[in-house]
Amino acid sequence: MGDESGYELGDVQKTKLAAIEAEWETHEPPAAFTLIGFPNEETQTTDAALQIPYLLGLIATRSITEEVTGIKDLIVEHEDRIRSGIGAYGLLEQLRAGDESEETKAAFEDVKDDLGYGLLLKRIRDDIENATDEEIKAAAKSTIPAVAPMFWTFRIMVGLGVLMLTLIGLSFYFATRHTAEKQTWLLKALLICLPAPWIACEMGWFVAEFGRQPWSIGEVLPTALSASTRSEADIWMSLTGFIVFYSGLLVVEMYLMFKFARLGPSALHTGRYHHEIESHEGGAPLTNAGAH
């Protein structure tokens, strides 16, 4: 599954892949995989990188001859598409204004795939056709999500996944030898790792959502344009409302959970649990058995 996602990512979400892997440059194929390092946004390099040759090329392209495009080249590519997108937006305005000529339609068809890139400028200025070179460059740079958060969250997610698989493997091994309950170090590790799946999920969620910025719909609709026009205060108030409400529910839930955990299942009076079961052969009831 990881292999499939990696290949898919290299195919359709080149930007996300480049950010996750802190691939600043397009290298000679096959690209090396950076196991760990410190991505530096300013110098556009990864300091103290520990790399495994060939691996990224294999994951992302399943070949040793295809390139994995680096961030710097992606920015150059996106700058071109933004310029083309400005043209697309202008043609769209003409169409909206009632120009129904075949030439305008054909010209728009040619560049309509870049319209979304043009719309990225809307975050900077409303009249995008007058955008300056600097603004276009800034918009192009904004097409790459911040690299360090992507790089780290992805590695935490994968690291936890490997850790959990290892623990499952060890538990399975000791369980088959019926000595699992004697491996106290393993039991402690499992207890400590209880939040691991949750943290891994959150990290994965972050990689997916932060990694597709600045897009709501990749290359079509920028997040800044798709967001609601509600005020920031509205969003803060509703978010606070949710936090307060759910915290209140958590208190009630925990109170009831502890209360009923202490009472045990026989508190339900279903007649099915310990202390209330009568033996099937019609023997003495087991009630009060615990008191002896």
């Binding site: 609601s228 509600r230 529910l249 009831l256």
Partner: protein, 378 residues
């Protein structure tokens, strides 16, 4: 592939069907819970009421989610304008609805009067508030909502939550709350015995007659308010945005459709007749028939609103020409077509297992049943 214009009409009808499905199914459990403190006088009686809707309320609520989902898919612009424009109203609905699942689960876990009383109030609020807000929202459609749309089709809402609470909108809110209380009372009459039965029987008659009067009042009010009409739209058959038409205000405009399409008159007439029939049959101790008629009455009332507004969905009070209509807010022809087939296949499947659920859980719930199973029921 269906014709685009036909698909637009089909989806206008389908969204209506989903809203009616929501009001008829979730409506009765909202009604039952709104009446929790009125019909249920003792703890056991309230538990009886909770257990009549206990197995069904969450399934019913899925109609609401389905209607929201259908609006998202079929009318994305309506979804965007409504959900960000009516932000606080819908959050109020959401927060009120939160109390339903937890109320059902937590209420009977602890036996003190204070605990149960608090949850009773929260369950009542969790049903009555959404019913009220939905009615208020419908009322505001007739008045127009203060939104506009810019050239990039982004919507801007200029009003506040409190502005929604105008006298006419509150009247519509009352129609909604009392109509659903009627529906819930008739449902209780079908599913309970003794005191709860008798009390719900009187409540059903009062609320059916009250809905009758309030519905007529709202109708008269609408007659004296301005409506809207499209005087010029680029096309109804093809792709068109809400910016490509001109809308004017017309005196008594929301009644114009009944002159144009006399068959539309059936909706309010059937609604009014059904309300009387509900009250009458409830009095005659025929709750099954009464429930059928209260369902028809709800459908008639919702259709009356839809027919009056047609083809408008969300009129704008500050810029009428960008009002949202069923011609210009729809998804692409391909999307509507695919969704239609999905609906044709899955709606019958969902309906059949829902009906099976009702069939399995049918029968009257008595106070004795609740007492005998006090650890296993709601």
């Amino acid at each position: 592939m269906f014709d685009y214009e036909l698909l637009k009409i089909i989806w206008w009808l389908l969204v209506g069907v989903l809203l009616i499905g929501f009001a008829v199914t979730d409506g009765f459990d909202m009604g039952v819970l709104s009446l929790l403190k009125i019909v249920g006088k003792t703890d056991n009686e309230r538990r009886v009421m909770l257990n009549t809707v206990g197995p069904h309320w969450d399934g019913n609520q899925v109609w609401f989610i389905t209607a929201g989902g259908a609006i998202f898919a079929a009318w994305p612009i309506v979804y965007a304008v409504a959900f960000s424009g009516l932000y606080w109203a819908l959050l109020l609905v959401l927060f009120a609805l939160f109390f339903r699942p937890v109320g059902f689960e937590y209420r009977s876990k602890i036996e003190t009067a204070r605990w149960r009383n608090n949850w009773d109030w929260l369950l009542t609020a969790g049903s009555a508030i959404p019913a009220l807000v939905f009615g208020v929202a419908f009322g505001n459609l007739f008045l127009g909502l203060p939104f506009t749309i810019d050239a990039d089709l982004r919507s801007y809402y200029e009003g506040s939550f409190w502005q929604l609470l105008s006298p006419f909108a509150i009247l519509c809110g009352l129609v909604s709350v009392i109509m659903l209380a009627m529906h819930g009372a008739v449902f209780l009459q079908m599913r309970t015995e003794d005191d709860v039965y008798l009390r719900s029987r009187s409540v059903a008659q009062i609320t059916a007659l009250a809905t009758f009067v309030l519905f007529i009042l709202a109708g008269i009010w609408v007659y004296f308010m301005p409506g809207m009409d499209i005087v010029d739209i680029k096309t109804t058959a093809g792709v068109v945005t809400p910016l490509q038409k001109t809308v004017v205000e017309v005196e008594s405009g929301w009644f114009a459709n009944y002159g144009k399409y006399p068959l539309f008159m059936l909706a309010p007439v059937i609604a009014l007749v059904s309300l009387l029939a509900t009250a009458f049959l409830s009095k005659l101790n025929k709750p099954g028939f009464a429930f059928t008629f209260s369902s028809i009455a709800i459908a008639g009332i919702i259709l009356t609103a839809a027919f009056s507004l047609f083809p408008f969905i969300m009129p704008s009070s500050i810029n009428p020409s960008v009002s949202l209509t069923m011609w210009d807010v729809v998804s692409s022809q391909k999307t509507l077509n695919i969704m239609l087939w999905v609906a044709i296949i899955f709606v019958p499947i969902v309906l059949s297992y829902t009906l099976w659920g009702y069939y399995k859980m049918w029968g009257r719930v008595s106070t004795k049943f609740v007492e005998d199973n006090k650890f296993g029921t709601y």
